[in-house]
């Protein structure tokens, strides 16, 4: 990056079901808190980036007007589950290019508006017309993964058990109760081999981070910060024929680019927030991120090398499985977790001496694509 960008504050509401809150109601409190904690006045803000998928027209402006934060550019971003992370990417890129000094990034989503069920996908898509839903996509990935690897449904359950154990430590998580492998396996089947406890919950949420240039950071006199060491956004590439669903190339390629940008190796990372929308995803992404060789992800999980005290803590927040997954908010919430971990604000789930953190979200179910979007960030304690 030409100029360094820093995350200088983060705020969010605990993810959950807030039927009495609108998009504005979800986002305004963390917006005010994030500005306050950054020591940033409204007049310091150069641009606002807002990630959401189902908020409708001018969601960003509807939120910012409540605190009179206008005039400056507000950009509404939709990249499905990658919406919030894409908004972070846009902010970091503008700062890196020297175009702006202070950016506010809001990720917000209200999934309770749909009254439950699977995530609504575009009715124009060929496979959506055929009845595809996201759990089915990940379930097919899981079926193939179990077929090709020395792995069982117990391993899929173990991912959820770990996520819930981490989530139990996180006051921002939607699910804070621990579960056992037996409970996960006995839960209602959603799409074989995935049970309900192997799927992220639906819910509402909002997260806000403030990014600043080196110059602004010093002017504002902020203490702890996380330097944006890599900010990568990729789009899916169509395959009309065979595709290896256990080797999602969009994440492999994005991770390769992110490591190159940051100048670090996989083993340098202290923590990663993965897009674990369904438990199978975490295993696939261990391999995509180069934490282990292909076909050896389950060993990493079984040996406890991806939890507290291991080589790298994967999803210290509880991940999407426990923290929750209000689509457009998730990418920003991941960055908030990285910021808190790197600045020693993570409370009971604090990773000791955390220096390097990565966040990863993919987005979208679209026929012919692995995913529509993939955003990866790497942060360094600053």
């Amino acid at each position: 990056m030409a100029e360094d960008a820093y995350v200088i504050s983060a705020s969010m509401i605990p993810f959950g079901k807030y039927r009495s809150s609108s998009y504005v109601g979800l986002a305004v409190s963390p917006l005010i808190d994030a500005l306050q904690r950054a020591g940033v006045q409204k007049s310091d803000v150069d641009a606002v980036y807002v990630g959401h998928s189902y908020g409708g027209m001018m969601t960003g402006q509807r939120i910012t007007k409540e605190i009179g934060l206008g005039t400056v550019p507000t950009v509404n971003v939709d990249n499905a589950c990658s919406s919030g992370a894409t908004a972070v990417h846009e902010a970091a890129t503008a700062i890196a290019q020297g175009l702006i000094d202070v950016a506010v990034v809001i990720g917000v989503e209200k999934l309770t508006q749909f009254g439950g069920g699977t995530l609504p996908l575009s009715p124009e898509d060929r496979e959506v017309k055929q009845g595809i839903v996201m759990p089915a996509v990940y379930a097919m990935r899981a079926t193939r993964y179990l077929y090709e690897n020395d792995a069982t449904v117990d391993d899929l359950a173990l991912v959820s058990v770990k996520a819930r154990r981490h989530g139990a430590l996180n006051p921002f998580a939607q699910y804070r109760q621990e579960v056992t492998v037996e409970q996960v396996l006995a839960a209602r089947p959603v799409a074989d081999p995935l049970t309900l406890l192997m799927c992220c919950p639906t819910g509402d949420g909002a997260a806000v981070v403030v990014l600043a240039s080196e110059r602004a950071r010093h002017r504002l006199g902020i203490g702890g910060a996380a330097r944006v060491a890599a900010s990568v956004l990729h789009s899916g590439q169509v395959q009309e024929g065979f595709r290896d669903m256990t080797k999602p190339e969009i994440t492999y390629q994005s991770a390769r680019d992110a490591y190159a940008q940051a100048g670090i190796e996989p083993h340098d990372l202290d923590m990663i927030e993965f897009h674990d929308a369904f438990s199978i995803a975490e295993l696939v992404y261990y391999e995509a991120f180069g934490l282990t060789e292909k076909h050896s992800a389950v060993a990493l999980l079984r040996d406890g090398r991806t939890t507290f005290g291991g080589d790298v803590v994967v999803n210290p927040s509880g991940g999407l499985l426990a923290k929750g997954h209000p689509v457009g908010a998730s990418g920003v919430a991941q960055v908030a977790e990285a910021f808190w971990q790197l600045t020693g604000q993570a409370g009971a789930r604090q990773i000791e001496d955390a220096r390097w953190a990565a966040t990863h979200v993919t987005g979208g179910g679209t026929a012919g694509l692995d995913h529509g979007a993939c955003t990866i960030h790497i942060f360094e304690a600053a």
């Binding site: 069920g117 699977t118 060929r126 496979e127 017309k129 055929q130 009845g131 595809i132 839903v133 759990p135 089915a136 379930a139 097919m140 990935r141 899981a142 079926t143 193939r144 077929y147 209602r188 089947p189 959603v190 799409a191 074989d192 081999p193 995935l194 169509v238 395959q239 009309e240 024929g241 065979f242 595709r243 669903m245 026929a367 012919g368």
Partner: protein
């Protein structure tokens, strides 16, 4: 001074008129595919442009009725009871999402499967004895 040509008029593609995946061909009722006359890529469904070489020289073709099941799931949500769906890699390297029926032969990845058309419905089923 040479005149700059007038800006061409682009026309919308009426893709909603032809989104049925099942079609009638000389070979019988088959899934509809599109083959590129320029690079030879075959694609699922009715298309007007090749996603590889961007040629518009494409034609409607029947897709093979046989292939291999890449993966599958039994879906318990969505209101249709339990519904088996999977990705089938057809013999000409086109992947399609498909409903699946299983009888005596249980579903498994890499199993040979074949198309069955029943009225307006279609699905794939394991090839018996394979």
């Amino acid at each position: 001074m040479s005149a700059t040509p007038e800006a061409p008029v682009s026309v919308p593609i009426a893709d909603l008129d032809s989104d049925d995946l099942l079609g009638s061909f000389a070979e019988g009722r088959r899934l509809v595919g599109t083959r590129c006359g320029n690079c030879g890529q075959t694609m699922i469904g009715s298309r007007v442009v090749c996603s590889s070489c961007v040629s518009r020289d494409v034609s409607r073709v029947p897709l093979p009725g046989t292939g291999v099941l890449y993966s599958f799931t039994r879906l318990h949500v969505g209101g249709d009871g339990v519904r088996a769906v999977g990705y089938v890699d057809l013999d000409d390297d086109v992947r399609t999402l498909a409903d699946l029926r299983e009888d005596a032969t249980p579903l498994r990845p890499d199993a040979p499967v074949e198309l069955v058309v029943d009225g307006d419905a279609w699905f794939f089923t394991p090839v018996t004895g394979a």
